[in-house]
Amino acid sequence: MTQRARNWLLIAPAGAWLIVMLVLPLSVVFIFSFGERAPAGGYVPAFTFEQYANLPARFTAFKNTLILAPLGTLAALLIAYPLAYQLAVRTSERWKTLLLVLVIVPFWTSILIRSYAWIFLLGGGGIPALLDMFGIENVRLIYTPFAVLIGIVYGYLPLMVFPIYVALERLDKRLLEASADLGAHPMTTFFSVTLPMSISGIATGCMLVFILLMGEFLIPALLGGGKVFFVGNALVDLFLQSRNWAFGSAVAMMLIIIMLVTVTFYMRLISRLNIQRDDAPLM
């Protein structure tokens, strides 16, 4: 057997699996998005753009997703960065690994269980009852956009901390000392040395979190209580409740298109930032 044939044989099972379980299903979604709903639910073959024209009916779901996914990503970044900085730059070698593991461990446990914990904390008997003791009455937290945002930050914080930590850890600490020795204010050092050098970590973290948030279902389902819903919640409703496969497929196609466009745009932006950095003297 030639080497070439052997390599082909090695990738054939995985390739076939991906074609049957990924390419075929996605093609079905593409085809169904041009079809019509059967009276009893399901799909009738057709070629119409009716489903796409009907997309504004789910405008709120798209609007919520496109506001809360970037906002959640930003909030996670703002909370994760100082922590990653503290761990990578300011913590002794002895404690570093342990403290990083402690950030990552929650991510390895079910996001379902971690999200529903917040039903407790944000519900009547939790934080609102606590605020009540301090005289702040009738605070409603659960089933609000704020609750969903908390769930997002909580769920995805480890995923944001890790890549930023890796980028900051690789940063040569002597650069920071050099900057300080040359009389730079700590803020100046941060904005002209630390931040630019960790941009790759920020980019990776934001992209991972954003991609996962675009398809989020559990957090809005548990903490948004039907009031704050994402495209993911609309999809569950369309496929499992109203069984409108054709329209559901069009919604799914739209979600994929929005993701592809934003991610492509975002990658362009990041690579441009990186090129600018490479041009800068001394770096």
Partner: protein
Amino acid sequence: MRFYALFVYIFLYTPIAIIALFSFSAGRSASQFEGFSIKWYGRALNNPFVMDALGNSIFVAFVSATLASILGTLAAVGLQGIRGPVRAFFDALIYVAIMIPGIVIGIATLIALVTVFGVVNPWLAGLYQDAASAPKLSMGMGSLIAAHTMFTLALVVIIVRARLAVLESSLSEASADLYATPFGTFRQITLPLIAPAILAGFLLSFTFSFDDFIIAFFVAGSETTLPIYIFSSIRRGITPEVNAIGTMVMVASLLLLIIAQLILRRGNATKR
């Protein structure tokens, strides 16, 4: 800065601690602690629905992680020697598998398989004399394993390929120079070196499959996995029993993580 870090750790661990705490509550209420008791653990472990769901989850996670590790490793090794359009196509498949949200994978698999089964089942029935005894394909454990394997196989390819990329090619060249067969080189040189990566891929796949709710929600048919059971229990209202299940799941995944670390560390130690 230190206080900030402390605050974030409190934020990360308070919800987990609260679940664990209330799982030991004696009362029925999920928001008021009424004395220490482990009765909800007993209740959960004696609940046939919970045990059934747990068994399904472990079975699906084990089979799909095993399949993904084997197929993914073979593909990663094969891809080393492949260039050109086939390589580009395979890379694109992996990229799409990772990028597409789980929920879209779930609905796509559901409608594709239901449609395919709708065509295949009457044909299968036609092959049999007695239509009632003909096998009938339907959504269930098989479709769930197939969907999980698809996604986790992409993960394994990425992890194993990263490991293969940093291996010295001089080792396998030396082995070939010494007249080892390609399979012998693979078994005695490459495989031991990439074993930690394969194990890491297996554990990541197992955890993904075990924790996955959204794909299973669409693809599992009438079967129940543990996340599906927990989700529908929460819908009916949180009880200390759900907290007890949640606590046990968290402790189990933590143990798995520690065992994995120990195995990986030992693997690294013997090599030196």
